[in-house]
């Protein structure tokens, strides 16, 4: 892993310094804290404002009062939203899609990464580069041709792919698989060759080596890749917006944007509540597995 996960800061253990350097350091420290507070305010303001608005009644939102303060806090927005059948449908769709996409992604990318990192075959080096390049092709380039391809599939086989939530299970792996494979190749390559050679001599098959040696050793990397895959499939907005339209087929981000904003009438209390609930699953995962999250983030660009 990168040095971020095992930082050794010699200044923390540095001996006490005297005179102007110590004074200079103290002043630098104070300024650092001052600016960090400013940046944290800037970075946390929108989510905090979401929370503030979500606790207000519509009357209070429309009133001319301090928008940064809640005078009559209420959980009304949460109860109405969570008792709405459509909102729960969005949540269910999002959850099913994300869990399935994560499972598919992890199986595909772990197998492929093992094969590309350890068992060469004709063209495997080119494929590894190709995986990296596909990771750089954005969804905004692919959604129009995919739309047409889906229409063609409908004409040929009669299977309607557009406007079904489960089609996202096929689409999201295009975003998650290349990146997860890429970082898993990095993690697998860092495992010493002696380990799998020993297993091979003991008569283990390749599948056994993968299951008994590589997966346990590279578990931190697998957790990081899983978190990434979940975050991406939970947050994607373009594919569901382009491919699903009926209310019962929407996933959470698109559902909140399209159904809670009706014409010119914005019910901001509910929109903010929905947005906060939509942001909650990734935030909760992040809160508990922050170190894995950050390791995955930095591994993607620094592992070569």
């Amino acid at each position: 892993m990168t040095s971020a996960s095992a930082p050794i800061d010699s200044r923390a253990a540095a001996p006490v310094r005297y005179g102007s350097i110590a004074r200079g350091n103290r002043r630098a420290l104070r300024w650092s804290y001052f600016f960090l507070v400013l940046f944290v305010i800037f970075f946390l303001m929108p989510p905090i404002y979401m929370l503030i608005t979500s606790l207000k009644t519509s009357a209070e939102i429309g009133a001319v009062t301090n928008p940064w303060w809640v005078y009559n806090p209420t959980l009304e927005n949460y109860t109405t939203l969570l008792s709405q059948k459509t909102f729960l449908t969005f949540f269910r769709n999002s959850a099913i899609v994300s869990v399935l996409v994560v499972s598919v992604t992890m199986v595909v990318s772990i197998l492929a990464a093992f094969s590309l990192a350890r068992m060469q075959f004709w063209g495997s080096a080119a494929l590894a580069t190709g995986v990296f390049l596909t990771y750089l092709i954005p969804d905004t380039l692919l959604f129009i041709p995919l739309f047409k391809i889906f229409a063609w599939v409908h004409d040929q086989t009669g299977i309607e792919l557009i406007n079904h939530w489960w089609v996202l299970i096929f689409l999201y792996p295009t975003l998650t698989v290349p990146f997860c494979t890429w970082i898993m190749i990095g993690y697998f390559s860092s495992i010493p060759k002696e380990l799998d050679e020993a297993a091979l001599i003991d008569g283990a098959s390749y599948l056994q080596i993968l299951l008994r040696v590589f997966i346990p050793v590279a578990l931190p990397g697998i957790i990081a890749a899983t978190i990434f895959a979940f975050t991406v499939s939970w947050a994607n907005f373009l594919y569901p917006l382009a491919f699903t339209t009926s209310e019962d087929q929407l996933v959470l981000p698109v559902g909140i944007v399209t159904t809670l904003i009706k014409g010119d009438v914005y019910n901001w209390g509910q929109i903010m509540t929905g947005a906060l609930l939509g942001a909650a699953p990734p935030l909760i995962i992040y809160a508990f597995l922050m170190d894995y999250y950050i390791a995955g983030l930095t591994a993607g660009a620094t592992k070569g």
Binding site: S3, A4, D9, R11, A12, A28, L29, S32, F35, L36, F39, V40, F43, M45, Y49, G62, P67, V108, L111, A112, M119, F121, W122, G130, T134, L136, P138, D139, T140, L141, L142, F143, I144, P145, F147, K148, I149, L171, T174, V177, P178, T181, Y206, A235, F237, A242, P253, I256, W268, M272, G278, A279, P282, Y286, M290, I294, L297, T298, A301, G304
Partner: protein, 308 residues
């Protein structure tokens, strides 16, 4: 005696053939393991990407081949050149600001005692964790024309109202601001990781030579972090150039198409306007810049691999 020699020779030949078949078997298994990945990439990424090029040469009803007709049509439209200009302005400005803010914040986090760093880093990364579509809704509400919470603060400190997303220039500022807000934590994390790998001895040597804090950053940190700075900026350039969520939700391209980028305009033309070929032509303009950035990244990653 002769029999024994023959025996040895036979078994050696047999062993070599066995080894060869084992290698073949190994590469077959390896190919099998990679097959799902290859299928996903071929069917859902490579094929659609090439199909987009074919699609761009068809007429609106997708029955007639029109060659470069769609591109000629685009080049004659003012909106297209506006979109080109805005996409470039949006991506370049946003990446520069993200890089600068990320660099500065990474230094502040690195400056404070080690045991507090985890907490600050955790708070500062939150914008990156929230799904962009959700956080953009919060910004939309902060920029609301009649209830803007920013305007409330501005009114209280005696500054006039700002039209935020209502005015073309402010709307451009807003989409860039939100993008910077979402993206700079990523830069911060990457630069912080790079900063940790700069050996402390270099700073000590620089301090003995009488370097001030700015010289330490400029002559020690910056050269040591150059590779990560480049890779992160190029990655972000690709993602920012292809951005969709923020512009779509915040302004939907308005006012009067002034904030459209390639992705949102392609969506408007292709999905809403029901002209898939024209939408495909617009989105194809992302290719050159993506390709250039990809080649540069690949070169950097390889270089890094050789150094290690």
């Amino acid at each position: 005696m002769a029999d024994a020699v023959a025996d040895v020779r036979v078994s050696a030949v047999g062993r070599r053939a066995g080894a060869r078949s084992m290698v073949r078997k190994k590469s077959f298994i390896a190919f099998l393991f990679a097959l799902p990945l290859i299928l996903i990439i071929l069917c859902l990424v490579v094929y659609p990407a090439f199909y987009a090029m074919h699609l761009a040469t068809l007429s609106k009803s997708m029955t007639k081949f029109v060659g470069f007709g769609n591109f000629e049509f685009l080049f004659k439209r003012n909106t297209f050149w506006m979109v080109v200009e805005q996409s470039v302005l949006f991506a370049v400005t946003a990446v520069i600001f993200k890089a600068v803010i990320g660099f500065i914040v990474a230094h502040f986090v690195h400056n404070i005692p080690l045991k507090g760093q985890r907490k600050w880093r955790g708070m500062l990364l939150i914008p990156w964790v929230i799904p962009p579509a959700m956080s953009t809704l919060a910004w939309l509400w902060l920029f609301d024309p009649s209830y803007s919470a920013f305007n409330w603060i501005l009114a209280h400190i005696g500054v006039g109202q700002v039209p935020w997303t209502g005015n073309p220039y402010w709307a451009r500022f807003c989409v860039i601001l939100v993008n910077v807000w979402v993206g700079s934590p990523f830069f911060m994390i990457m630069y912080l990781a790079a900063l940790k790998s700069v050996p402390e001895q270099l700073h000590e040597a620089a301090a003995i030579d009488g370097a001030n804090w700015f010289q330490k950053i400029w002559y020690v940190n910056l050269p040591m972090m150059r590779n990560i700075i480049q890779i992160t900026a190029l990655f972000s350039l690709i993602v920012t150039f292809a951005n969709f969520d923020i512009v779509k939700i915040l302004t939907n391209g308005g006012p009067v198409d002034q904030t459209h980028v390639f992705a949102t305009w392609a969506f408007t033309l292709g999905i809403w306007g029901n002209d898939l070929p024209l939408g495909a032509s617009v989105s194809l303009f992302m290719f050159p810049i993506l390709g250039a950035a990809a080649i540069l990244i690949l070169r950097n990653v390889r270089k890094r691999g050789n150094e290690a």
